[in-house]
Structures are given as C-alpha cells and as structure tokens.
C-alpha cells in the first residue's frame, strides 16, 4: 500500500478532469487542462479567519491523512465538517462564463433571445496517507486531540523540524524529502500543525463514500494560506482556486501581483462546443504572459443575501444565505430557518450583513511562488466576472440593403473573433481549422462562415507578421537613398 501525505494546497490528483459543458466532455488528451486543482474557501473579517478545505479523496480512507500549518491551537468548537456540495455550488456560480446572443435579420423581424451557458472548470483534488502506530517523539507536543465528524484530529507543536519529521514518519506519514526546508521556518514562526486522519468507525456510520470538507476557524492577524509545504511533495504547476468571503470588499494578494483575467471578449461561435478547453488555453496563455507569479481574479461580486442582483448573467444559482453560513460566513449566522416571524421585519441595511465574494485563481510552482500566499481585505466593492461572448448570426435572406450591410459587418466581426481567439489563447490560427470547418455553421450565409473566413484571416495575420520586416526594409531604403543624394550633393 502506497502511503502518501495530503497537505493543504498540496493535492495530488488521481483522476482526470471532467469538464462538463452542455453534455460535452473535453477530451483527456487535450493536455492543456490542469488537473491538479485544489479549492479553498476563505472567510475573513477583522482578525478572524475561517478556512474550508475541499476534500475529493477517492480510494481507501485508511490511506488518507492531511497536515495543515495553523497559527494557533484550535479548540474543538473551531473545527467542523461541512457539506461537500458547497464547493460545487460556489464553483458553478463563479466559474468563467460564456454568454450567447442572437442577431436579428435586419430584413425582417426576428425572435429575440438571450441565453447563457456555463463552463465550470471542474476541479479534482487530493490524496493520501495513513496513520500507523502512535508513539510520541521528543520535541513534539500533542496540544490537543479531537474527534470531529469522521475525522481524528491532532494538533501538534514542535520545537525542531527534525523531531516533527521523525514523529510524522513514525506515525505513518511519509514526509517528502525537502519538506524540512519548510517545516523549520513554520516551527520557528510558532505555527502549530493540524493533523487529520479518518476514523473508520465514524466513517462507517455515515454511510457515504466521500470525505467531507473540514472547516477550521481561528483568530490571528495573519491572513494567509500556507502553500509552501504543499510544493515539497509535488512537482510541476498546481492550480488553486480561492473562494473568499468578506464583509468589506474584495480580497487581494499582498505579496504577488493581482491581475484580472481578460474578460468580455467576442469569440467565435464554435468555441461553445469546447469552452472548457478554450478557457484552459486562455488561462495558460495569460498566466505565461503575466509572468506566472500572479493572482488572477476570475470573479468578484456583492452576494449579500438581501442584495437582489447577484450576477449578470447567472451561471449557477447564487449562494443562498444557508450556503454562505455553511461556508463559514459567521456574521450571517444565528438565524432560525423555521422561524418566519421576522419576515416582514427587515433589519436595517447598515452593511453589517454584507458579503463580498472573490474568486482568485493561482497556478503556482516552487520557482514562481517562493512565499506563502498573503492576503488583505480591501474596500474594493467593484463587481467583476470572466465572461466571453458568442453571437449567433441571423438566418434567412439578406436581399434588402440593410441585409447586405449586415452580412458585410458579420464577416468583419467574425474575422475579428477569429483573431481574438488566437490572441487570447496564444495558439496558431491553424489549430482551429477543424473546429472552424466542422458542420455547425451551415445555417450561416456561406460568405460569412468561419470555414470561409479562416483562410482570409490566416492571410491577413501572416501579412501582419511581415509588417515589421517591411518597415525595416523601407526605412533602410530611405536612409540609403538620402545618403546617396547627400553624397551626390543633391540635398
């Protein structure tokens, strides 16, 4: 039996990613999708933090274990297990989205429609290890020991890293070789270690085949997520999605640059079939372009329960007050859901019940992220969403003057869409040949089909690539000519 260790932000993936979009599955062979994604819910107000860690462990629960550095010794009340579905709901609600629009035929009236579709970026996470015999080693203190839900929880403090390492090894945790470089600074920063394994008896009582997310809360001025420990036992890039809730506004990273992922772009119609892959490509391309050490903002919205407008358009249902309380938004808690006596008696809106939602997407590796993620709550309350637009062309005859004009505009627009596609995803226009020529477009006028426009765009883009050379040659010729004339005394 292979024993491994699960650490926050250090999730190793066993199963491939499943992108579900309108019944289409993105092929596994695509290679651009990240299948190492971990998810964390962060709730922060004042000095209090609530952290919920997604647990998608599949396999023998005896193999599961997890170590999380925490700033204080947690009490039993500070540790909870919550429903797993909350992560799916938050992801569905905040994922990058595709919006559909329909053109009207200018020659006669047409139906007007506006639908939206979602492309959830599916996230797979997690893994493994086991408790063995328990024997305390020197310099490691077991500060507390709890049984919460299906988990056995220990809180350790240590005086030196080698002691902690030995203790973990003796107790059946396989610590990665270079974890020590990180353990030492954590111990000296006075962090405690939150160690989790599954209690088999309690697990059997639950009668379900997954492990529920663990939620911890504590008071500390430190607003951070320890990712460094996770890097020790993982190679390559890891994705992390942070869903954050605050009372004041967005959260942002203080030690890495924050960037908004490009949004509100018109992209070709055929991307609809493959939006998951499109967004995967786009993210990778943006991540490269922005220099990798970046926190990408994918979503920011005021989701206060009394606030009506929670998204535009909505991809999934906005989180309800119950969802938010589940996620750890404690300032909404304390309401009895069967008591309707206060229905007419709305509390004054003094901002004390405000909830702002931020979704940050990190892709980290050891080189680009030498420090743990530090955050701050800002008063920035602007809404933001990663949103891409496809437009269905009008159909029918375009024999009137306005119709001809429309066709011309449509050709121009679609050319732009194709160019945008290559710019956003950083791919060559040739890669989209198959999608563009696939039979999905035949209702469109032939002259405006992507298959017709693609070669034209290709030509235009190739010509553009030659432009700098052209300018250079032209410039050289001008200078040479001027020099010649000067030499001959003409000027």
């Amino acid at each position: 039996m292979k024993k491994r260790l699960l650490i926050i932000g250090a999730f190793i993936v066993l199963s491939p990613v499943l992108f579900s979009f309108c019944g289409f599955y993105v092929s596994k062979a695509d290679g651009t999708l990240k299948n190492k994604t971990s998810q964390v819910i962060l709730v922060r107000d004042g000095n209090k933090s609530v952290i919920t860690m997604y647990n998608d462990f599949k396999g023998d629960t005896k193999d599961f274990a997890m170590v999380v550095p925490v700033p204080v010794v947690l009490r039993k009340d500070d540790i909870k297990v919550v429903e797993q579905s909350i992560f799916q709901r938050l992801n569905d609600y905040s994922a990058p989205r595709l919006v559909e629009y329909w053109d009207q035929n200018p020659c006669y009236g047409n139906k007007e429609e506006d639908k939206m579709s979602a492309a959830p970026s599916a996230n797979e996470v997690v893994v493994t290890s086991a408790f063995g015999t328990k024997r305390s080693a020197k310099s490691v203190t077991v500060e507390a020991k709890y049984l919460v839900g299906e988990y056995d929880i220990l809180i350790l403090s240590a005086k030196e890293s080698s002691g902690l390492k030995n203790w973990l090894n003796e107790n059946g945790y396989k610590i990665p070789a270079d974890a020590e470089e990180v353990l030492d600074p954590y111990i000296k920063s006075n962090l405690k270690f939150f160690v989790v394994k599954v209690n088999e008896k309690e697990k059997q009582k639950l009668n379900n085949n997954f492990l529920r997310p663990i939620q911890i809360s504590f008071n500390s001025p430190k607003f951070m997520l320890p990712i460094r420990l996770g890097m020790a036992n993982a190679d390559g890039d890891q994705d992390l999605i942070v869903y954050a809730f605050t009372r004041r506004g967005r959260i942002e990273s203080t030690n890495y640059r924050n960037a908004d992922i490009v949004s509100n772009r018109n992209i070709p119609l055929f991307v609809q079939k493959n939006f998951g892959a499109f967004y995967g490509n786009l993210f990778t391309n943006q991540w490269d372009k922005e220099g990798k050490s970046v926190a990408f903002l994918e979503y920011a919205w005021n989701v206060t329960p009394i606030n009506q407008m929670k998204c535009d358009p909505c991809v999934g249902n906005p989180p309800t007050e119950q969802d938010l309380v589940q996620s750890g938004v404690w300032w909404l808690g304390g309401k009895d859901w069967n008591d309707y006596s206060d229905v007419d008696n709305d509390e004054p809106d003094n901002g004390s019940k405000n909830v702002h939602f931020t979704r940050l997407h990190f892709r980290y590796n050891r080189k680009s992220f030498p420090q743990d993620l530090m955050f701050q709550v800002t008063p920035n309350t602007l809404n933001y969403q990663a949103r891409y637009i496809i437009t269905h062309p009008a159909t029918g005859d375009f024999n009137c003057a306005a119709g001809k004009k429309y066709l011309q505009d449509l050709r121009q627009r679609r050319k732009k869409e194709l160019q945008e596609l290559t710019v956003l995803t950083g791919t060559n226009i040739n890669n989209w040949q198959d999608e563009a020529t696939a039979k999905n477009d035949e209702e469109t006028n032939v002259s405006a089909q992507y298959a017709t426009l693609l070669p034209q765009v290709k030509d235009e883009m190739e010509n553009k690539e030659n432009m700098p050379v052209g300018i250079l040659l032209f410039g050289t010729a001008m200078v040479a000519g001027a020099g010649l004339m000067r030499w001959k005394g003409i000027i």
């Binding site: 470089e181 030492d184 600074p185 000296k188 920063s189 001025p221 430190k222 607003f223 942002e252 990273s253 203080t254 030690n255 890495y256 640059r257 924050n258 960037a259 908004d260 922005e290 220099g291 050490s293 970046v294 926190a295 030498p370 420090q371 530090m374 701050q376 800002t378 008063p379 920035n380 309350t381 602007l382």
Partner: protein, 332 residues
C-alpha cells in the same frame, strides 16, 4: 557634477570655434539649434525635482502600459487636477505676498506634480471623492501644517494615510508591481541617485538598508527560509518607491545629517516590527506620517543648515557667448 559642467563648457567653446570659422552650413545650423535646446534643458534640470517627476512618470507609464492600469486613468487625472487646483487656491490666499502670484504658482508646480505622482503610484480607490479628498489633504497640509517655514508632513504620505483611515474606501496594493518590475526599479532608482546626486541619498540608504537587513536576519537567519523568499519580500515596488521617492522629501526630514540617519533607521525598525510581527500592510508610510511631527523638535535641538531646492544657475560666459551666436545666426 562640477566635472560635467566643465566639460560642457569646453564643448560649447569647440562648437563656437567651428561656428565662427564659417563651417556653419545647414548641418551646422542643426547642431547649433539642438545644442542650444540641450543647454536650456540642462539649466532647467539643475532642479532635482524635475528628474523626480521624470522618473515617477516612467513608473506610472510602466504600470499603465504593462500592468493594465489603464482603467484607472480617471483616478490619476483626478489626483493631478485636484492637486493643481488646490495649489492655485492656496497660493492665492495663503502664499507669500512678496513674490508675484504667477511666480509662486510656477515654483510650486513641481512639488504638486511629485505629490500627485506619489498618490497615483500608491493609493487605490473606486470613488472620485476619495481621490479628491486625498489630493486636497496632500496639498493643503503643505500650506496649513507648517512650523518654522517647513511643512511637517510629507504631502503624499499624509494624503494616503488620511484617505485610508478617514474615508475607509482607499487602500494600498503592495503587490501591484509584481516582481518583474524590480530590475526596472533598481536601475532607475540608482540612476536617479547618480543623476541628481541629491544630498538626501543617505536617507534612502539608511532606511532601505536597515529594513532589508532586519528582514534578512528574521527570514533567512532566524526562520531559515530560502533566499528567494527574502528577495520576494524586498523586491516589492512599493517599498523601493517609498525609499527613493517618498521618505527623501528634503523638506520633511531633519536637517542635521546624523540625526536624519538615526531617524530613518528608527522608522525602518518600527516599520519592520509592524510588518513582520503585526502583519500590517503599508507600514512604512504610516510610520513615516507618525514620525514626522518629531522633525521640528529634532531640528530645534540639532541645528543645521535648512535645505533649499537649488536655484537655476546663471549662464556662464561661454554659454552666453554661444547663445549670442545662436541668436545672431538665427536672425541671418
């Protein structure tokens, strides 16, 4: 700098020699005019503040061009317009009456631009009224909160702190520069020192040196993080911006050299404590504002010459001669 001035004079003599020896054709005339332009520019830039403005505008352009700050252009415009407007009003009502109004206005504009750039590079907000408030506080503080003819608070630092704590709708983004900008920052900041040879380089070095040394001791020697962890901490653009362009304001630091250095080290130490142990963001700016009321007291006990911005120097004989030739030729 003296050496540079000397060689410029020699250069002008050489150009003059060629001009007077009838070598002045169309190209010669071109050289002549560009040289006179350069000379005027050099004279203008004897005031170090112009260099500061140029460097700050490079940083802002970098942000707008490469870090997607274009959406915030309205914010920068608000800072600048408010700053200039408040200066106009303050000069009109509160300025020294013995200097003509326009002259006072002209002398004050570089400082207003520097303060506005300081706000643009550090302070973020979503509301125009917060931006107006921050810029107004910055400039007003220069005219109202004064002791012994020196204003007490660094204008942009006070504007930032007031906007953050009084309105609650502004914030600093320490990570906004990313780590890619560090090389640019390092080179330009060093360039700034070399070019302006400001008397106040000691301030930057004392602050940055102490802050970085304490961080190094804490992160590398005590906690045992790898080196890149430390580099990530000190390579934030906001810290370099603060050390080279904010704390250096010669009007708001002690006049006496030794006192000045001790004062900077103390600010660095307190800022380090707040950053490393209290996890406060933007600690150096807050500490600076809190420490500035001490400056007049320190100045009282430790007497030293008061700082004045360098006055534009009169033209030397060579330069005058050269200009004379330029003007006479241009009449021809």
């Amino acid at each position: 700098m003296h050496c540079l001035g000397f060689s410029i004079n020699i250069y002008f003599q050489v150009v003059y020699y060629f001009l007077t020896n009838e070598l002045c054709n169309s190209i010669g005339r071109f050289i002549l005019y560009t040289n006179s332009g350069v000379m005027h520019l050099l004279n203008l830039f004897k005031d170090a503040r112009y260099f500061q403005i140029i460097f700050q505008s490079i940083f802002l352009s970098y942000g707008i061009l490469f870090l997607h700050w274009r959406n915030e252009s309205w914010l920068y415009a608000t800072y600048f317009i408010t700053g200039l407007a408040v200066q106009f009003v303050c000069e009109y009502f509160l300025g020294k009456k013995n200097v003509p109004f326009l002259q006072r206005l002209k002398n004050g504009i570089p400082s207003v631009l520097i303060s506005s750039f300081g706000l643009s590079l550090l302070l973020k907000t979503n509301y125009w009224w917060v931006a107006v408030f921050a810029a107004a506080v910055s400039i007003l503080s220069k005219y109202i909160i004064r002791i012994n003819g020196k204003h007490i608070f660094n204008p942009s630092a006070l504007g930032i702190v007031a906007a953050i704590f009084l309105t609650g709708n502004a914030w600093i983004s320490p990570g906004q520069w990313g780590s890619g900008a560090v090389i640019l920052f390092g080179v330009l900041s060093l360039g700034f020192i070399v070019v302006t040879r400001v008397q106040k380089t000691d301030v930057s070095i004392a602050f940055l040196g102490t802050f970085a040394a304490l961080l190094f001791i804490r992160q590398i020697i005590y906690l045992g993080w790898p080196l890149d962890h430390f580099i990530q901490s000190v390579s934030t653009g906001s810290l370099l911006l603060f050390s080279f362009f904010m704390i250096t304001d010669p009007k708001t630091i002690p006049n006496h050299t030794a006192v000045r250095i001790v004062w900077c080290i103390a600010i660095a130490a307190v800022a380090f404590y707040l950053t490393a142990f209290k996890f406060m963001n933007g600690a150096p700016i807050i500490v600076l504002v809190l420490a500035q009321p001490l400056v007049p007291i320190l100045d009282k006990f430790f007497k030293a010459k008061k700082f004045e911005w360098a006055k534009p120097k009169a033209y030397t004989a060579e330069e005058k001669n050269f200009l004379h030739v330029v003007y006479s030729r241009s009449i021809m």
